[in-house]
Amino acid sequence: MKRREFLVIGGAAAAAFALPARAAYPDKPVRYIIAFPPGGESDIGARLQQGVFDKLYHQQLVIESKPGAGGGLAWSQLNNYPGDGSVIMGTNLPHLVLQPLEGNVQYKTDDIANVHFYHYTPDAIVVRNESPFRSYQDLLAAAKAKPGKLNFAGSGTNTANHASHERFNHAARVKSTYVPFKGTGDLIASLLGGHVDAAMSYSTLALAQKGKCRVLAVATGKRLPLFPETPTFQEVGLDWVDGAYRGIAVPRSTPQDLRRRISSMFSEINRDADFRRQMEAGGFELVDIGYDKMDAFMAERKKAYTGVAKLMGLTA
């Protein structure tokens, strides 16, 4: 049987049994809206997924960037799109929890139908090479000896870095000052120039600045292969495995079976060997939180972030 005939018969059969048309999803290019400018971590992750998506599903994944309001602009528009799988959107944690608490955005955390989280960039404390702090213990001792003296650079106010900093102050029982910058790219110059004592950022920053920077501790479950010398926060006595999670959400009108389908598609992309290698080389920690695990995961995350938000002075 020729391919065309097979398809025709297949199509007829589908019509006859009134199977949902979306069994063939994706049957046309999928728009993948990224809520941050091109070149950032969300964009990079999406572009690496893009190639695998084309390879596995023979459809184009078209990346559109729609930056604004720290991601909030795109997320507040997500549910206006049709729920037929033609539009998916990149989402980020803790942004989705912290922004509605802060109150500048026009969506609620529960408005966003996340279907899959595929990686996170682990929180990390980074110092420059010339820093007197050789280890996390050095930093901690200095912070305890001179309360309020140390300066930590981070990206933005009421953001993931800001939350991590408050969490660090609280958990390690120290007092240090958070100095917000417009973005991670902005703070590198101040960190390397020694204008701040350390950065509360991600392990990806330390990877990019390898040779100029040291990572004192990372918020992963076990040590990162890229930084075998660096202890985890758990090793130094803090209960802290966290970072910025990136995932995919769909409009709320999307039916359950399609949500599951999209979730499993991105799980499959996550298993691609080339994709794994590229992501790991870039310092991204892969996770595979699919749609069936989503409710429990979001409930746990919301609880954790709401706790930190109280430390930051944000209340629900």
Binding site: N104, G211, A281
Partner: protein
């Protein structure tokens, strides 16, 4: 000589036929988007990024870099010929370039801006090749307090940009500062002047403002003149600058190159500030400042050299430190990571082929751009003979596409239209929009660094006077202020500010 050896490696890579081809493609695309007002390198590179996946990473980055500095060349063409900035960094070129065109010297203006850009590009390439690491280290010495003082100096220098009354210039700067405040305050997270519009939470993009007050309003003004508009295309003769033009503009080119190179290295500086400062400096140094704004060749040579120099040297923090100074550089970082290259300090040692290949290709690219631009001058000048009935709607569409492509936001197009109307009102009141744009750029950076410096000093303002860099900059600013304000030299000031 290690440097020669490195450059040898670089040219070996850059001189392969396919890399020259990609360099040429990048430069051509860059020139094209530079000529088209509104459509900038960020949108173009973002759109082309997926297409580069199949290329070798070095070729891909050579092409993307070519788009960026090619746009600096192309941006001046529209500025000179139609008084619309093709790129934001060519805003100042409009001031004298268009006037030169009106006086029948369009070819000369285009020629000098291409030659000046080539000189600047060559010097900047040498700077990157020879001194990139130490220069980057120097830039790191600038702390928040030093940046604040640099911005103060910049703002005081901004008044010199004004043509008419000093009061109007200051009013425009303050309006620019206020517009710059729109959006989320980085220190408190509070959204200012955003009127609960999510589109305003990140503030207004400079491209939107520039297209509005320079692009849209200029078109309205031209349409208003109707049939009576002067025709100045017939009198074009002498396309290339002659020896006396070159002699007149050479010092301006050199000064513009130095200033542009220096500002390009500083994170946050870049081509826009470079062009503005170079123009200001030339006007200050000129024996006859009244010529500026009426078609002074130095007023084209200096900013064009400066913006190209800054465009090239802004690769220094990117290639040596992994610090993106401009949105385009942030995109280049993304491009590197997608191509499996980790940008940062280790790139010089881990990927010497990429580092030196890119540097060599920049020089080749600059050469290609001159070769491309000089013979094409005639074609660009012909643009002037296109009937405005066709030209203006086309430009307006390109402006809208360009503004939309910055953030893929229709709201930005409406905003640009609003700024176009505001800009038209400014023209009616004979208020110069250039100081507004400078206030818009400098204001937020000044505020951010002021508050950061005070946060780091725990509220002690003495940091601005105890750090040598900051103190030096403030002293220069104070001197400049004295020169502008002192009654004894008021007469000279009149000459500076009141022209015509």
């Amino acid at each position: 000589m290690e440097l020669l050896q490195h450059l040898g490696t670089g040219f070996e890579i850059a001189f392969t036929w396919h890399n020259i081809l990609y360099c040429l493609v990048g430069c051509l695309l860059g020139t094209l988007i530079g000529v088209l007002p509104g459509i900038g390198p960020v949108a173009t590179i973002a759109m082309l990024l997926p297409a580069t996946f199949v290329l070798h990473p070095v070729s891909a980055l050579i092409m993307l870099a070519g788009i960026y500095y090619g746009a600096q060349y192309g941006g001046s063409t529209t500025a000179i010929l139609v008084n619309l900035p093709g790129e934001v960094s060519s805003v100042v070129t409009c001031l004298d370039g268009y006037q030169m065109a009106r006086r029948g010297m369009a070819g000369k203006a285009l020629g000098i801006s291409a030659l000046g850009s080539f000189f600047a590009g060559t010097v900047a390439t040498i700077l990157i090749a020879g001194f990139a690491p130490p220069l980057a280290e120097l830039a790191l010495k600038f702390g928040p307090s030093d940046y604040f003082s640099l911005m103060v100096l910049g703002l005081i220098a901004a008044v010199v940009l004004a043509h008419g009354s000093l009061l109007k210039a200051i009013a425009m700067i303050i309006l620019g500062l206020l517009c710059g405040l729109i959006g989320t305050d980085v220190n408190s997270g509070v959204a200012r002047y955003s009127f609960n519009l999510p589109e305003l939470i990140d503030g207004i993009n400079i491209g939107t403002v520039a297209m509005g007050v320079f692009g849209f309003s200029e078109i309205i003004r031209n349409l208003e003149q109707g049939e009576a508009r002067e025709v100045f295309t017939k009198s074009i003769k002498g396309l290339l600058p002659n020896w006396s033009d070159i002699k007149q503009s050479a010092p301006a080119v050199v000064r513009g190159t130095i200033l542009g190179s220096a500002l390009g290295i500083l994170p946050g500086g870049g081509p826009i500030l470079g062009a503005f400062s170079a123009y200001t400096l030339e006007k200050k140094l000129s024996k006859d400042p009244s010529r500026f704004g009426k078609g002074a060749i130095e007023g084209v040579a200096a900013p064009e050299s400066a913006n190209n120099a800054a465009a090239q040297t802004s690769f220094i923090p990117l290639l040596t430190l992994g610090i993106p100074c401009t949105p385009t550089m942030a995109l280049m970082i993304g491009a590197m990571i997608i191509h499996g290259i980790q940008p940062g300090p280790q790139i010089m040692t881990s990927r010497p082929d990429l580092f030196w290949g890119m540097i060599a290709s920049m020089w080749i690219g600059n050469l290609l751009l001159v070769v491309l631009n000089l013979p094409l001058i005639g074609i660009w000048v012909k643009l002037l003979t296109v009937k405005y009935d066709y030209l203006f709607p086309a430009i307006l569409i390109f402006c809208c596409v360009g503004v939309y492509s910055i953030n893929n936001a229709p709201f930005d197009v409406l905003l640009a239209a609003l700024f176009g109307f505001i800009g038209y009102v400014f023209i009616k009141f004979s208020m110069e929009p250039a100081p507004l744009l400078l206030g818009f750029v400098l204001g937020p950076m000044m505020e951010e660094n002021l508050r950061r410096a005070l946060l780091l000093s725990r509220g002690d303002p003495s940091v601005f006077f105890t750090r040598p860099i900051s103190l030096t900059l403030l002293i220069i600013a104070a001197l400049l202020l004295v020169i502008v304000m002192a009654p004894s030299i008021a007469k000279k000031r009149e000459e500076v500010f009141v022209e015509g």
